[in-house]
Symmetry: C2
Subunit: 305 residues, 2 copies
């Protein structure tokens, strides 16, 4: 196994201006794993209930995702339901039924423990730390968090990210975590908290990669229509870490090409943009690696001067 992903595997109900789906496969770990599967061998650590459908495990397995770490327990799978605003830049959560996820205690199969790459989706920071503690040969570890943990679990979160290589959050979260409105100042403060690499996601406006000595900005891909932005941030994370895992990226190694991190941000952006093209995980039923590489080249075209 090359990359371990921990997070939620869930069912989602989503309403956007383009339509409504009452129940479909979702969850951060699902999106991260599907996205990363185009680049590297992924194992998932998550929990689902007895209602989790065979067609959904089949979709993951069909992408080569290892499911030994996908625990199945009595009860129902985590369910989330949300509705997007007309411009799709914001959403309202209508239902959050944690179900079996409420007692999630991530346990790693033996075969996962020596994987070099780890992506921790947005879950309680203590659980993220617990997963990282079970891994013995990490080359690169990082993940996501959200406003809830920043506001109410701050100390726990700070303790957790102190040992991370990278943190992936959105601009609002970066401002909240740092207490700085200006993103450059916010980034400097966050890099003092532990991670050597910070990626700030800006939704339709793209993303910024910050390191102590440099930064890289990519604009968002111009989609002709955004069907459903659910999971786009997780697909970004999957593309980012998936590409680095594929390249065998090692920040400690001599002569690390810092442009690799920029290219990882582009692959993240590419995967996030595909995710928005259809509802839920639908786009990943047909997406081919060649389309991914073609869009990567498109990014080069429209950003080169």
């Amino acid at each position: 196994m090359s990359l371990i992903v921990v997070g939620s595997v869930a069912y989602d109900g989503v309403e956007t201006p383009h339509g409504r789906v009452d129940r479909m496969l979702g969850g951060a770990a699902t999106y991260i794993a599907l996205s990363a599967s185009y680049f590297t061998k992924v194992g998932v650590v998550a929990v689902v209930g007895e209602d989790f459908a065979k067609e959904d495990t089949d979709l993951l397995a069909g992408h080569g995702v290892d499911l030994e770490g996908l625990e199945r327990v009595a009860g129902k799978t985590f369910f989330w339901k949300g509705k997007y605003t007309p411009d799709m830049n914001d959403r309202e959560t209508l239902v959050t039924d944690l179900n079996v996820f409420a007692d999630f205690q991530p346990k790693l199969p033996e075969s996962y423990k020596s994987a070099p790459y780890l992506l921790m989706g947005n879950i309680q920071p203590g659980l993220q730390r617990g997963v990282q503690g079970q891994m013995s040969k990490l080359t690169l570890a990082g993940g996501d968090t959200m406003n809830y943990w920043i506001a109410d679990f701050r100390e726990e979160l700070l303790k957790t990210i102190r040992t991370w290589d990278f943190l992936l959050i959105n601009d609002g979260e970066a401002r909240m975590l740092s207490g700085e409105t200006n993103l450059k100042k916010a980034a400097a403060k966050i890099l003092d908290m532990g991670p050597h690499t910070l990626v700030i996601k800006r939704g339709e406006y793209g993303a910024i990669l910050f390191r102590r000595d440099s930064y890289f900005i990519v604009p968002g891909y111009l989609l002709e229509s955004v069907f459903d932005p659910t999971g786009a941030g997780d697909c970004f994370a999957g593309g980012f870490i998936g590409y680095l895992a594929q390249q065998g990226f090692d920040i400690e190694a001599d002569h690390v090409d810092r442009h690799e991190l920029s290219r990882a941000v582009i692959y993240g952006s590419v995967m996030g943009s595909f995710c928005c093209e259809q509802f839920g995980v639908e786009r990943f039923r047909t997406l081919k690696r060649s389309e991914i590489d073609a869009r990567f080249e498109e990014f080069r075209q429209f950003t080169t001067f």
Copy 2:
């Protein structure tokens, strides 16, 4: 003369979270001309009142801006006063005293009429057309407009931009003019209205250059603090057209390098970013061409992957 700029020369009162200035030099033509003056020889067509200060004509003249087209008439100079929101992405207009600008009828000195480049700042579309009609040897002409003209002078505006080479507007104006929310679709519709080149400005998020067969996106420059965004869009316009004038850009010529337009967008972004660093036109009292070129290279650094 290489570039003619028409628009307002005004006094502004501005309040931002960083402070307040009750009266300072402003106006679209002022910002455009100062910005473009770093690249090419500029002549200004505008009107001021008897109160227009010698130190303000001196600032323009000190940048090599030709003022033969700056008419001085009885009355007071156009005065505008505005207050920015705390995040500085929006502003409220508190005072608009048109004064001598109310009867502005742009008249071009003979020496301006054969200039190859024309930038029409945001004024009544009929006046913009009147200026363009007085010029005999145009290579490239275009300009800016705003929500007011789009909403209430639509037919007049459409008639005016039909013969423009380029239009520079912000994202909200592009949506309003086209009736399309999606920027790619909006751009396609606007390119059908006449201009072969459209630049959509997105404030802190940068800008997009659209042509029929391609587009180019640049992210915004990350400033550590934005002192006063007044005039940033006009400085963008000045850098854009100024660079093209300096290069002798001619869209009709064989082998036009389409990347020249992208580089013009970068110079526009560079000039807009400098403008925000101090109140009003202050930054242009000290700005050197070498700083401009250094920031251009910085754009290359943080966008290359």
